[in-house]
Amino acid sequence: MPAPHAVDETFLALPLHALADAALARARALGADHADFRLERIRSASWRLRDARTSGTSDTTDLGYAVRVVHGGAWGFASGVDLTMDAAARVASQAVAMAKLSAKVIRAAGSDERVELADEPAHPDRTWVSSYEINPFDVADADKSGLLAEWSARLLAAEGVAHADAALLTVQENKFYADSAGTSTTQQRVRLHPQLTAVAVDPASGDFDSMRTLAPPVGCGWEYLTDGRYDWDGELARLPEHLAEKMRAPGVEAGTYDLVVDPSNLWLTIHESIGHATELDRALGYEAAYAGTSFATFDQLGKLAYGSEIMNVTGDRTAEHGLATIGYDDEGVAAQSWDLIKDGTLVGYQLDRRIAQLTGFARSNGCAYADSPGHVPVQRMANVSLQPAADGPSTEDLISGVERGIYLVGDRSWSIDMQRYNFQFTQQRAYAIRNGRLAGQLREVAYQATTTDFWGSMTAVGGPQTYVLGGAFNCGKAQPGQVAAVSHGCPSALFEGVNVLNTTQEAGR
């Protein structure tokens, strides 16, 4: 692994410490029990191409800072953009004023609830930079759009491809954090997500379909597109054949099937049915009116049979190239790795400092995150990953043991209820399995299940050779709405007796 990059010097040139000192001093003077200051600069750029021609670009930099206080037992939060010490102190005053307003409403309601934070050792003057080789913002724009155009042209040249869509998102996130307990962290991370989609249209019948690359978003640099770590050439070469086969494929007969789920599909099922369900703020009701709650309630910790005994799920903020990976969270808590589900039983949750203190955990596991300087940190998802079996089977071995089933590849549609019970997913490709062999693609497939039934039906997990780190840039939570990027690693896995729908029949056709 190459030596880590230094933090961008244009970020370090900002008056980070002076602003923090001014804000924290004002908060202390106004009687805050805790105060933290967070300055962020987030640069996000995107390129979109239709049929190999640029159809849209953006390049947005968000720079600002926030002060959060605990004052009189209540939270107060305010943000600002003026990089002067006077302004930073003023924002701290606003945060204290918001805490006072909040305390007034809490008293009016007759509540005696007070905000208290779990202890965290001070981490003074720490610097952390994510693992990447070439910062995508150091690559000329023309090279980026040029590569996407060339890849689009390859798809368009293939028979049966009517249209090709291409998109690239790149992000560089810089954060400076300082709090009244003496922690001070300066961090930088880089991530990107390239996607290509081939579209087939039968002009006579009006039938159409599409197929997208499976390449996951990653905490890597530009090398992800160029150094061979992902087989772009192979995937782009095969995509038109896959799409043509899908266009010819029969619709699935609705019913119960054994499913072999590829990591490219399973990561999203993990995200929705485990990742969100093991957020303790949700389980306690703090997201009840919006993102929802969780069936995995706190009283079931250590008892809930989440799935079969071969199910082991971890949370971490440490996996190399993980999208939720960081050195320190937005409350100054050092990154950790821990068990969420052990041998099928719920044994852990994702925490921030307040929720940890409220529920008797000694320490937060570092899941506080704000997506921008203007937003308050909330408990956001760690990399939540299903562990492979040490000597587990290959995907082919899993398929070979299935008499009548379906092999699912790539994510597409997703939806789950507000307590994380009932979900429905579709895929990029579904293959019939007959007598242990793939027997061609099927169309119109969706699988539907209840979370604990589904994970309880998992009878085999693949070995480390099947493990892939998938993920997304666009996980939504909280009000005001915040987005977060998160990764989920998993092996291929076998699920027995899952309900499969035919989506055309569902549409009443």
Partner: protein, 483 residues
Amino acid sequence: MSTRTPRRNRPHEIVERALELSRADGCVVIADEHSSANLRWAGNALTTNGVTRGRTVTVVATVDGGRGTASGVVSRSAVTAEDLEPLVRAAEAAARDAGPAEDAQPLVGGEKVSADFTEAPAETSPEVFAAFAPALGESFRQTRAGGRELYGFAHHGIVSSYLGNSAGLRLRHDQPTGTLELNAKSAGTGAAGPRSAWTGRATRDFTDVDPRELDDELARRLGWAERRIELPAGRYDTLLPPTAVADLLVYQMWSSGARDAAEGRTVFSRPADGNGPAGPGAGTRVGERLCELPLTLRSDPSAAGLECAPFVLAHSSGDDASVFDNGLPLAATEWLREGVLHRLPTTRHSAALTGLPVAPGIDNLLLEGGGSRSLDEMVAAAGHDGPTLLLTCLWYIREVDPATLLLTGLTRDGVYLVEQGEVVGEVNNFRFNESPVDLLSRAVEAGRTERTLPREWGDYFTRAAMPALRVPDFNMSSVSRGV
């Protein structure tokens, strides 16, 4: 606040200065001055809150070349006069690097100047909650006494957008946006189990919302839920309230771009050998009757209470937006006219590609042409020929199949059983699989159009007026145990 803004940092001067700095063939500058305040609560207690204020400046540079005109778009927050030159140069560099933009068009001209272009931006503050916050505290006390818990969120924001371009446009729009969502929960006893009810409002200024009034509505619904009835999956006669109709039709609106339709990629595409017109709009279903009810789906920047920008504000180009169209006037547009598909959203570029009229997207949506009945009156008329379900709202709506625009999602916070014109209890939640296009064709009644907050899309789209719809065979695909 404006007194602290140095003269050269006033938003209209930022726009003028950036245009002066431009060395490109064309330039568009948008200065967005935004401010917001929010309160969030859970379990009868405030949880988080915040106030924000900021500025984002977007510069679009256009560079003419032998192969066409290129565009470069760069946005930065916290921009002052000193930061403008690097920002303008970055946009110009991006344009030179980009190659021809396929949506290139002449910049919108006309020397139009908004009368308030040089005035200070509008701004919100926590004061917007001056009457609301104490009333909310009082509601917490009441609900605690009544054995209920309140959860929810109140948000108010104002964006003042200043748009200028090198063709002489100087336009301004102030957009207030407010939302209130209130969710009441009750632990319940015995067979009733835990109960949950929801209501929401969109508001421009919070003077027209009273949490106590909304809490009364929620208490009524939690009362309905004291009797619990389990029903299996199946197709049910269903009353969709305005918020649910809005969520389904907003997604339909987002999926109706003219270019995708003409390329054969959406539910609004028509096969080449179909009976549609061969000329303008060929390959689309424009002109086709989509529903028997005489419903009109439209957007109008001047719709009362739903006012939104009367000109295009495009911060980047995409399938249904073009930065070249910035400043283009927006007029009332009927997407569906008395049941017939009338317009699909276009930019000037996609209008030229498809032969359809220019019809850029507008930030509100209204469905009109139903009857005069309120939802309560529709309930009173329902459940006489078998059970009818009354929904509260929909949740986690995602596209399953673009060919039919099949969407999946959940019912949430109250499915009620109507028998003989009365709500007789609460039913379990369901996962649905339905297409809004099909629902419009199968709806047998639309009620009175009223303002509503689309719950699922409320983070992005809040200005809607919809009727309730009665659909005789809504597809509840499976039971959800979620409450």
